[in-house]
């Protein structure tokens, strides 16, 4: 399969081009904050509950809130029906999602508490962890949780010998490597970093910088979604 030809990718995008992305804040009533992200074929909801008292008590931290993250896929979100409930992959993604979000959430403001971040992937096609983190930080902001910054996330990778932004399904399956990151826009610091496949040192540096470029674009969309919500509320 020829994944890239004359700089044009299998789905028609340029190397540094993102798939189409829509972000909406405040989409659920029960949650304290929520967001919905469509990213290519991915459809992702995020909901935040808290800060609230943590039970059982022995899990409490005297100096900060505990951040609990849950990444979950709907049974019908993928080609082959997935059995409901967490599998090993989603347990790992839940963990790296928490690790990505922790640096931007001011957990120290809410000792003894818990903040719950729930991410539901209702349709999946390459890049759900980045879409989930992107949605989650908008939902956190929508919930009024104080944050150092929003947290956009985006992958870059190597496909057909070239470094490209935001891999689609075929690129993910048949490309050489995938490198998802989450970036704190204010500092440029990387809070999510995973990688699989083969890349040289230099290729990784190129991919990191390209992914950061993607994060900046997504950051603007995140802010726009929150402004829309604010405007929308004023119009109510």
């Amino acid at each position: 399969m020829e994944l890239i030809k004359d700089g044009i990718r299998i789905d028609g995008r340029k190397k540094d081009e993102l798939r189409e992305i829509k972000i909406k804040a405040g989409v659920l009533k029960r949650a304290d904050g929520s967001a919905y992200v469509e990213w290519g074929m991915n459809k992702v909801y995020a909901a935040v509950y808290g800060p609230r008292e943590l039970y059982p008590r022995f899990l409490r931290r005297y100096d900060k809130a505990i951040l609990q993250c849950r990444y979950n896929m709907a049974s019908f979100s993928v080609e082959e029906r997935k059995r409901p409930g967490p599998d090993r992959r989603s347990v790992e993604i839940s963990k790296v999602t928490r690790s990505a979000l922790e640096p931007v959430v001011l957990t120290e403001n809410f000792p003894e508490s818990v903040i719950n971040v729930n991410i539901e992937i209702v349709q999946a096609e390459a890049g759900t962890r980045c879409a989930g983190i992107t949605a989650a930080s908008v939902a956190l902001a929508d919930a009024g949780i104080p944050m150092r910054d929003l947290l956009p996330a985006c992958a870059a990778g190597k496909v057909g010998g070239e470094i490209v932004l935001d891999l689609c399904k075929e690129e993910d399956n048949f490309g050489e490597s995938d490198l998802p990151i989450a970036m704190v826009p204010r500092t440029g610091g990387i809070t999510l970093l995973q990688m699989d496949g083969l890349m040289t040192e230099e290729e990784i540096e190129e991919a990191l910088n390209l992914a950061k470029k993607g994060c900046k674009i997504i950051y603007e969309k995140q802010k726009e979604a929150l402004k829309q919500k604010y405007r929308g509320n004023n119009n109510d």
Binding site: L28, K29, R30, A31, M41, K43, Y45, A46, A47, Y49, R52, R70, N72, A74, S75, F76, S77, V78, E79, R81, P84, G85, P86, N116, N118, I119, E120, V122, Q123, A124, E125
Partner: protein, 269 residues
Amino acid sequence: MTEIDLISNIEKDYILNLAKKGEREDGRDFDEHRKLILEPDLIKKAEGSCLVSLGETKVLAGIKVDKGEPYPDTPDQAVMTTNAELVPLASPFFESGPPDEDSIELARVVDRGIREAPALDMSSLVVREGELVRVIFIDLHILDSDGNLFDASNIAAVTALHTTKIPVLDDEGNPTEDMIPLPVIKTPVSCTFAKIGDNIVVDPSLNEERVLDARLTVTTEDNGYVCAMQKGGNSEFTVDEIMDCIKKSIKIGKEIRKTILKTTGKQKV
């Protein structure tokens, strides 16, 4: 701890007194459903799907169709299973973990309505009797839990079935490129009632659910037959109350059935 515990007595009295006056918190009549929005076919990865908004309650149903062995006691019938996920996204009181009694009851009541109507012609989904049949998974993903999950889930599941397309199989049971719709022969619709004091309201809101004394779900099919009922809650119904709910369910069910068939382009003109 369930959601029911957490309402104050003041709120309880407020809703109860409203009901005595023939009123509801959100201004609805006793027999009035909240606004119903159907968004079919949102999930391309599923063979069928529908997002239902019933007021602020949101349920996403996805249908996946696979092949497998029939049950030994029904060798000439397709297999159908219904599952409901009350994910913690949807409510501060839902917890992750295996299905609890609430999600099991919800899935089983929706399943029973579909199975008993019957919504599907299960015998036409057999590839080789006793060996290979279609296996239909109905998965209910609750996104926002704001009262009356039973009806929102029933409507989402049934509408999703109406939108489901499956590949024609060749003689060996392998999929061809031709697609056909699932043979949906009935459109069962459930109607859930809450008894609050001596009054009965349809499509209870979250607050009404929290204070209800008893709950009754009545599912009816296209010809006005009742195909499933389920009572819940910690109080009792009289026979008259039950009969009254049945009459209302038949009437409201007709309206909702019309909406489903219209939305899915199945309405007979």
